[in-house]
Amino acid sequence: MSVKITGNNRRLPTARSQTINRGKSIQFTFNGKTYTAYEGDTIASALAASGVTTFSRSFKYHRRRGLLCAAGNCPNCLVHAGDEPNVRSCVTPVSEGLKVRSQNAWPSLERDVMSLTQLVDRFLPAGFYYKAFMRPRALWPYYEEILRHAAGLGEVVPATKPGEFDKVYKHADVAVVGGGPAGLRAALAAANQGANVMLLDSEPALGGHLRYATHDIGGQPAYQYAAALAAEVAAHPRIDVMTNTTAFGCYKDLWLGAVSGDRLIKLRARALVVAAGAYEIPPVFENNDLPGVMLGSAAQRLVNLWGVRPGTTAVVVSANARGLHLARELEQAGITIAAVAELRDQPEAGLITAINAPALTGAAIVRANGSRHVESIVVRAGGQERKIACDLLALSTGYLPANELMLQAGGKVAWDEALHEFLPSSVPPGIFVAGEAAGAHTLADIEREGELAGIEAALKARYGDADAQARRDTLAAQTADARSRRVAWSAAEADNAAGKRDFACYCEDVTRKDIQQSIDEGYSSIELLKRYSTVSMGPCQGKMCNTALVQLCAAHTGQTVRDTGTTTARPPVRPVTMGALGGRLMEPVRLSPMHEWHVARGAKMMNAGLWKRPEHYGDPVAEVRAVREGVALIDISTLGKIHLHGPDVPVLLERLYTNRWRKLDVGRVRYGIMVNNEGVVMDDGVTAHLSDNFYYMTATSGGAAAVYEWIESWLQTGWLLNVHALDATELRAAMNLTGPFARQVLAKVTDGVDLSNEAFPYMHAREATVAGAPALLLRVGFTGELGYEIHVPAGYGLCVWEALMDAGREFGILPFGVEAQRVLRLEKGHIIVGQDTDGLTNPLEAGLDGLVKLDKDDFIGKTSLVLAGERAVEKRLVGFTMPDGTLPEEGNQIVRPGKGPLGLEIIGRITSTRYSPTLKQVIGLCWLPAALAEPGHDFTVRVRGELKTGRVAALPFYDPDETCLRA
């Protein structure tokens, strides 16, 4: 006889734990059909209440899967909800209008074509894809598309809304993970010692497994006992309770990652109590995945949390007292208990007799039967097999202690041969494991261990006194004694012969036979077995399967379970959305004080590192012309600006730069390049000697932070120079006023300095007042024209800029951007570090040899350059023009006939090139072999696939006599 599923409304008359509010209905849809839920329901509890038993299709064989754990651990109830794929429907609250659909089933969850793969499962053993689809090779991409579409669970919704993700930082003396009886006791004990405690639990309320149990504890039902304890905790002034919060990672120095909805919580604790309980796990037997086969705790949760009847006729398979309590509870909820199959020979007699159903002791599960749903179970007891009809098979046969956080932090677990569980064998400092995570299952043991861990954690966080230590010692002694007398709550995995569809791994549809076959093929260590058979690599990450896997592996290899070991625990404990992890992008945007002005004038802005800079204001050619023929102004606030104070600055400069700095008079400016220890060009810029013991250094925009850090490293780690460096990059705005009329414009708004060429010549610096602002003027010439860099306090930047633009109006002043500046500097043959040089360029090759003074005492990189100088320079950075006017692209390669596939060999490359409106020709910089680097030499460059001729030209292209520059 078999029991048919009848009726739709499986809601029990009372929900004892009051999790749901029957006064408030919520409508939602599942696969297009509307369902009614109560407030407090999860998606799965509401569906189960409406009689839905198939929630998903399995990964490989597309078998029907129903609720297994109802606690957010297994893969069986994964659905697509709203925008989110792979939602654990059993722990996700239902909301009004939520659209839920099943995944990985076509055309529908009820009729899934891919379930036909079961018929050919014998041709699809573990790793079948490694053995097929190779010939002919041309067909592999087609095979692969089929495999790809068969794999995969949920779907990404292209229009997913960004969401309101955020992050918070928290600090606690003691963090307690798990709000069951162990965690509650631990939190109270630690807080009572004075520690500030943060208690995290992934469930919506505290109480742990007691929250959904009704057996008697000291005269009250378990859930009421738990509620009272939870209330005490919640009322404690030093305990911060965070429910609906899953601690998913424990990283170095007790840095915990937790997630609560769309919020990431980063918690630093001084001590951590792991009281995360244990995952109830299923045994391996034939058809152990049929809908209606579920963990005892799942049945209990359905009944007691959401008032849902998980079946009408149940068989309870039990290996511990909790299973027997469960049978009693199901009975009280009106479910017929067809039988209790007790795996132990001698269960607690009092509990057995309380159940009005036949109890088979010393039983073993043979198989479950059914096609769409479990219809009966076959058990062996007393030497004979019996078939018992049921529509619910509740399994209370084993636990995996939830030690992931402890393991992530570097702890270890070992198999306990007597208790058949992986228990902590080495716990990292600062972490304390308590309760079911430590293998305790009776309430007295759990609470004692919780209190002990709480006191230990408080002591670790430097709370507690001699009394606390005494209490700790007492509890430790009692715990040790209790542990020595513990009995198994978990049954060992039965060493059955491989049957059909006896799944060790639900996520990946891996059977006992698949595991044995993989081992026989040579994948005999647990990690290889995992990687080949894919056991434990799915959504549950081994929570449901790992214990069985290790036992099956040990049984088949003949090793002990302890020696077989377990796989590595990797974060996160539960999958976490990338939205929560990523939060909002916090990378700053750096803006110059004149930014709004540029934007208002229609500048095209570009990214330059973190900065935004004007690329141009519409017509870069006009901007170039303004500099060459009139006057123009560029915002160079992004330049690195470093104040150097102290008597030893000249010594510092002498060592930082490759050229000479000892004799730089006050009021003078000098250009220099810095190389690193390897002699590679790292930055360039000018430094001005402004007054006694005060120098002002500029660095490139991109190199500013690195140069400052570099200077500090030498100052602080060995040179003992009397120099104080200050990074003033953001303290000052800077602009370059340049062009033949620059002096006239500047003179209109400047006081306190004689700007004449004689009084203020090229490469000099002056302090002055510009447009009312205290300004530093550097007469330098990156553009090749008369020019003044004007550095003012950042707050004056905009007003000085506007004053200069006003003053320049009569001269046709234009603002100019990065693009015009690139053309201008190229006309002058100035290099850009990082564009014309790369990570191996030394200054001797880059045409900067005149700036390298190898006869100086010492400077950074000197030895490397001396060694490099012993060899003839092999390649050079030179200027070039294109006689036929072709404009190459930066990155084009210079070639000659050779043995490459195109008959060409690479001998150089173009690093910079532009059409010069001033010179009316294409100009640029390129790397060439030294022998070909003489002006006038022609070379071949590959431009957009065609070979073109370039010609080496002398630098600079513009104003070689520097008459404009020094005017």
């Binding site: 692969e144 990404v156 974060p571």
Partner: protein, 411 residues
């Protein structure tokens, strides 16, 4: 395929073992330290191409337990330097036919590889790479947002992101592969030809007499040999120190993670150097994601939360629709970084002690070519042209390889 059908029809007929277990002999002609793709490939090619089968591969854990099983499996040859391109191109070509050769489907998926450029300087570098690649016969070109959108509609190609996408280097032959399968396939190929693979066998010392290798000490006994190849990653300097050979290497962790399994939607490999992320979708449906190496040296295989945060934040910049995709698992591997982001292969000052190390973040893709060419080096006692740029002596000679610029996120 036939094997599957035979097995299916006759369930009692077991598949043959992939590799055997052996007693450790007291003498081998060649000892290879490291049972990853490099060591196993070298053993395979020694046996296949040069008839040298008296070879032991020593693996302290299980085969593929190091970098070979921890990388993100990207295979490509669009490097920056001509020598790099030539070298990796041979590897890609070997990978293309490897499944047939080993009779083991490696699930090599040449889906195309996109390196995104977010600023003008990376556009310049991408063009430089494309030009070098084309001149070496490698399919690689610069593409613009319209074509990027066709290849990967999930990318946000608007100008809203902090780092807008300006262009990309497109490398159609780039792909991903099942990394473990490569290890297992090579192991079986080597085993079939007589190579001894010794798992759970840790090297504890290397005997050197008069600057010549004479033996290797292990946790399972001592081996006499005249040729030792250090093909380890993460522990390359510690192993070389045993032979008295110092290497210019520092060891950094590299982290990676996968998402839960999803129906196929991402058909190309996406890399962003500026955002330090790369992502592909495996045939199992998981997104496989990584970033650049951890900023400080370490032998720790611990994961960090900062990695997940940074990676997720940056990836969502590129593909905002992934906000509800969940990270399933994260892990770390060890990378031996050299000063020029290029490997070290060949002879050392100790005769008979050879290295195939310093593979940074690009070792897996080079497994076949390094194995093949290191086998040639061992068999012929001379350095193949392809390996010459990567010799150990280049550091003292001041002739570093110029991959540094392009390889800072070299996936």
């Amino acid at each position: 395929m036939l094997q599957l059908i035979r097995h299916g029809l006759n369930g009692k007929r077991p598949f043959p073992r992939m590799w055997r277990e052996h007693e450790l002999k007291d003498r081998y002609e060649v000892v290879i330290i490291g049972g990853g793709v490099h060591g196993l490939a070298a053993a395979y090619y020694l046996a296949r191409d040069h008839g040298i089968t008296d070879v032991a591969v020593l693996e302290k854990n299980y085969i593929g337990s190091g970098g070979s099983g921890r990388n993100t499996t990207i295979i490509r040859s669009n490097y920056l330097t001509p020598e790099g391109v030539l070298f990796y191109d041979e590897s890609v070509k070997l990978y293309e036919t490897l499944a047939l050769e080993l009779n083991f489907n490696l699930l090599f998926s040449q889906r195309g590889h996109l390196t995104l450029a977010h600023n003008d300087s990376s556009v310049r570098t991408m063009r430089w790479r494309a030009e070098v690649n084309q001149l070496q016969g490698v399919d690689s070109r610069l593409i613009w947002p319209d074509e990027i959108a066709r290849l990967c509609p999930q990318l946000d190609l608007s100008d809203h992101p902090r780092y807008p996408i300006l262009a990309a280097l497109y490398h159609p032959p780039g792909g991903v592969i099942r990394h473990d399968a490569v290890v297992w396939g090579y192991a079986r190929g080597a085993d079939l030809r007589g190579v001894h693979i010794h798992q759970k066998t840790e090297v504890t010392g290397i005997d050197v007499t008069n600057s010549r290798v004479t033996g290797v000490r292990t946790t399972r006994g001592t081996i006499k040999t005249g040729v030792v190849l250090n093909a380890t990653a993460g522990w390359a300097t510690l192993i070389s120190d045993m032979a008295g050979v110092r290497l210019p290497i520092t060891t950094h962790p590299l982290q990676a993670c996968v998402s839960e399994s999803l129906k196929p939607f991402l058909n190309v490999i996406i890399v962003s150097g500026s955002l330090h992320v790369y992502v592909s979708q495996s045939d199992r449906g998981e997104l496989v994601m990584g970033a650049s190496v951890d900023p400080y040296t370490s032998y720790s295989l611990d994961s960090t939360l900062g990695f997940l945060e940074g990676l997720s934040g940056h990836l969502l910049e590129l593909m905002p629709s992934l906000a509800r995709v969940k990270i399933l698992r994260q892990w770390a591997g060890l990378c031996d970084m050299t000063p020029d982001y290029s490997p070290i292969m060949g002879f050392t000052p100790v005769e008979g002690f050879l290295v195939d190390v310093g593979w940074g973040t690009y070792g897996f893709k080079a497994g076949p070519v390094s194995g093949k060419r290191m086998a040639e080096l061992i068999a012929t006692d001379r350095t193949p042209d392809l390996l010459a740029p990567f010799r150990l002596s280049r550091f003292e000679e001041g002739r570093l390889v110029g991959e540094k610029g392009a390889a800072s996120v070299g996936h």
